[in-house]
């Protein structure tokens, strides 16, 4: 007869309570994006070029550049976190950003709408675009991958049609065909010319999203749908409505990012935002959100976004070419995914 006490390898049943063993792997995964961010920052300091005794990487201008550069994909990544927690994916975000920038510029410049109606309309269109994708995916039981891949093409196509494949430049001033000067603030920095306004939009999104995800019934439903859809349905969770909402959220986030894009660069373009969906997904995954759904962290997504931005920045500062940047990003994504998979396997929740 086997003696239970003779098998020391198994994890004791009351591990979490009686024997608080420090679990390095779980710790590493839980805070992987923050740890990664710290490591990248340390690396940035070490490898940063130094000019006149100043570390370029830490220069206020450089920091501002990093957080400005990530604000658009960051806003999208925040929305994407909701979708990925439900075990979905949204590939249409980059194209929708582009469409939104075109719509913003067109409405203000060509149609002559005021600022508030324009922004409201663009946000509504973005949310509706996402909601329709979510509806198609749930109604016809299609993989979100396919539906949003189609959505990507549609959004890009619409952007090309609306813009006639031209840059739509935004000029500022009063009167029809001109955008109110306040809109240009999206390209400025506040507080003594330190904090980019685009970043403030990103932060606002992240804060609201963190609250929604972690403290509301809606957020709890999102986790439940991704954790076990059938169980959620049996528990009375409105699964279909939840799934449609998360795509509406990514749509809304993409529209907001498109508005920021138009404001930062003073034009709408049908060819921008290419590949943003992949950057956003990468930030989410590095942030510790599982592509299998059911678990994830908004703080992780923000840290993942900043980390990717900082990494790109270091490589640029050292004049390392773009190809190597891609390689580095790829390696980090694989590492993040491997860590998650190790934890999943140990938790015994695979299959």
């Amino acid at each position: 007869m086997p003696d239970v006490g003779a098998r020391p390898t198994t994890i004791p049943h009351g591990a979490s309570k009686s024997a608080p063993r420090i679990d390095l792997l779980a710790f590493a995964v839980r805070f992987q994006s923050l740890i990664g961010l710290v490591l990248v920052a340390i690396g940035g300091v070490i490898f940063s070029p130094v000019r006149h005794g100043h570390i370029l990487f830490l220069a206020p201008d450089n920091i501002a550049n990093i957080i400005r550069a990530i604000s658009e994909t960051g806003i999208i990544a925040v929305g994407m976190t909701f979708v990925i927690i439900t075990a979905g994916i949204d590939l249409s975000v980059g194209a929708l950003l582009s469409l939104s920038s075109v719509l913003t510029a067109t409405m203000m410049v060509s149609v002559g709408w005021g600022l508030a109606p324009t922004l409201l309309a663009v946000l509504v269109v973005g949310a509706a675009f996402g909601a329709v994708q979510g509806w198609i995916s749930t109604r016809f039981r299609l993989e979100p991958f396919i539906v949003t891949l189609a959505g990507l093409q549609v959004a890009r196509g619409l952007a090309l049609v609306v813009s006639n494949n031209q840059y739509i430049n935004i000029s500022y001033g009063d009167g029809p065909g001109l955008a109110p000067p306040i809109f240009a603030i999206l390209g400025d920095r506040l507080f003594d010319n330190t904090v980019p306004v685009a970043t403030l939009v990103f932060i606002a999104f992240a804060v609201v999203a963190t609250i929604v995800l972690n403290t509301t019934r809606f957020g709890r439903y999102i986790f439940a749908v991704g954790g076990n859809e059938r169980a959620a349905r049996l528990s009375g969770v409105p699964v279909t409505a939840m799934k449609i909402s998360v795509y509406a959220i990514t749509g809304l986030a993409s529209a907001a990012a498109g508005i920021v894009h138009a404001g930062q660069f003073n034009f709408g373009s049908a060819n921008d935002g290419t590949g943003y969906e992949l950057t956003a997904i990468a930030a989410v995954v590095i942030g510790g959100t599982s592509l299998f759904g059911g678990s994830g962290s908004m703080v992780g997504t923000v840290a993942g976004s900043v980390m990717l931005g900082a990494l790109a920045n270091i490589l640029q500062l050292n004049n390392i070419n773009a190809a190597l940047q891609l390689l580095a990003t790829g390696a980090i994504i694989v590492l993040a995914a491997v860590l998650q998979s190790l934890v999943r396997r140990r938790e015994g929740v695979t299959r």
Partner: protein
């Protein structure tokens, strides 16, 4: 071997397992099992759910490595690290979930992983010839070009057997092969088994159906609680086998019932669930008459395919699309029960038989899982109230003695028994009038079973009505005030407590074997 004639005892068994032990987490599924199989015999392995049959089979087939014990093939010790190694040694397994690819045709399935190749290309002609030969060798007429998805369950079973036979030179393990077969298909399967054993293949035959045992088996081993409870002859009286299966004194496991039934919570009279679209294998309720009163535990008995699960899920609105006809009343009010929401509003809660698949968010904490059914109460104004959440979860922990006592631990990390307590506690938190339970103790160890039974009895005493479907007859006999028997989607009999297993089984299977 020349000694073969001297009787089975002196022969070298084709497969011998000694002292096999296997634990999952804290649950000890096998606690030192000896098992032998001689070539040319059909050895039936019986046991209730959770007795360890499937685990033993998984160990013998190489799917799980045993924690302790030895396995020998033809007297040579072996160690299988995965099913492929077992197959290479001549041990093949046919699982309940057939390991066929439904979208491929029969020939492709038969050669899956062992494709014939010529000049770097698939040699389809050779494979088709061989496939045809193998099927006709056992007198079965199946079109090898049809997709497996288009075959009947019985034909799929045959394909799986033929596929397994290509590697099972010595031992064939069959897990509940007749569970989903019609009577003609069962006959054909038995004939195939007899042919195989005549050719010297040793067959391990796992089944729930006692009546089949004397017809095919040469030897019977009964398992209980991870141990071999005994070995007997297939000709032994059924009562003796049942005694071995049940074993323990029922009085200790099952709580005393308290009969004080109150108002009628569920009333079905000639109720029928008309499906929008039929689906093969889904036995919709055809004509169901039963009622459940407050304070009462009513059992649903029936053989596999009788429609127990389907009845419960149709009541909960979680089955296939369709509509109830006839009298359907919940708490005195006529209702359609058209959706999960409608059922929940009417005060019905449901615990499915698949706690991991349907019941729990495995990566979510136990506490969050628990409050899922009362999420509105713990999220005033849409925001989660940590205090209310913890209060409710703690109440469940105490009531059901869930271990370890930690609301933050992931549900997937709990043992099966504790997970089952969580899914039950979760629904109980919502204070339903009527609780529907499907296989409430499947895969749960005996200790947790006893606790669950005690809680159910307490809840019933507080006025809850419980309708429980189970394939474990002793469980139904032990906990239920009344037992309703389903056959082919119809209620065919109803018994008060204090009857024996055979009476219920007879009613459940009918005079003759019908669609299973």
């Amino acid at each position: 071997m020349s000694e073969a004639a001297a009787g089975p005892d002196r022969r070298v068994p084709v497969l011998a397992a000694r002292g096999i032990a296997k634990s999952f987490g804290g649950a000890r599924a096998l606690r030192g099992v000896d098992f032998t199989l001689y070539s040319g015999e059909v050895h039936a392995l019986l046991g209730e759910n959770g007795a360890g049959k499937s685990t033993l089979m998984n160990v013998l087939s190489g799917a799980h490595a045993p924690d302790e014990g030895e396995i020998a093939i033809d007297g040579q010790p072996v160690r299988f690290d995965d099913p492929r190694e077992a197959q290479a040694a001549g041990v093949a397994t046919i699982y309940q979930e057939l390991d066929l690819v439904p979208t491929l045709d029969v020939a492709a399935n038969l050669f899956l992983g062992r494709e014939r190749v010529r000049n770097g290309f698939l040699d389809k002609a050779a494979m088709r010839d061989e496939a045809r030969k193998r099927l006709s060798a056992i007198d079965v007429d199946i079109d090898i070009d049809r997709r497996v998805a288009d075959l009947s369950i019985g034909h799929r079973q045959v394909v799986a057997i033929v596929k397994a036979l290509s590697s099972a030179s010595k031992v064939l393990i069959m897990d509940e092969p007749t569970a989903a077969l019609t009577s003609t298909e069962v006959e054909r399967l038995f004939k195939i088994m007899r042919d195989l054993s005549a050719r010297g293949v040793g067959i391990i035959y796992i089944s729930h159906r006692l009546e089949e045992v004397p017809r095919v088996a040469d030897r019977v081993t009964v398992m209980r609680d991870g141990l071999v409870a005994g070995e007997t002859s297939p000709k032994a009286p059924q009562a003796e086998i049942v005694q071995l299966l049940v074993g323990r004194p029922l009085g200790e496991l099952y709580p005393k019932r308290a009969v004080n039934s109150g108002r009628r919570l569920l009333n079905l009279e000639r109720a029928r669930f008309r499906l929008r679209r039929d689906r093969a294998g889904w036995q919709a309720p055809e004509e169901v008459t039963l009622n459940v009163h407050a304070g009462e535990i009513v059992g649903l008995a029936g053989i596999m395919g009788a429609g127990r699960t389907e009845l419960l899920s149709a009541l909960y609105g979680s089955g296939l699309e369709g509509a109830w006809e006839g009298v359907v009343e919940v708490n005195g009010r006529s209702t359609k029960l058209a959706s999960i929401r409608a059922a929940r509003r009417a005060g019905i809660a449901f615990v499915t038989d698949d706690r991991r698949g349907d019941g729990l968010m495995l990566r979510m904490s136990v506490g969050r899982n628990l409050v899922m059914s009362i999420i509105r109460q713990v999220t005033p104004f849409g925001f989660v109230s940590a205090a209310r959440e913890t209060d409710s979860a703690e109440r469940s922990f105490k009531q059901f003695d869930i271990r370890p006592h930690d609301v933050r631990i992931a549900a997937g990390a709990l043992s099966g028994g504790n997970q089952q307590k969580v899914v039950l506690a979760k629904e109980v938190l919502g204070e339903p009038l009527l609780l529907l339970l499907d296989e409430p103790t499947r895969g749960v160890d005996v200790g947790a079973k006893g606790e669950i039974y005690a809680r159910l009895r307490e809840l019933a005493a507080e006025g809850l009505g419980v309708l429980v479907a189970s394939s474990e007859m002793p469980e139904l006999l032990g906990i239920c005030d009344r037992i309703v028997v389903l056959r082919g989607g119809r209620t065919v009999a109803e018994f008060d407590g204090g009857i024996d297993e055979l009476t219920v089984l007879t009613a459940a299977s009918g005079e003759k074997m019908i669609h299973a």
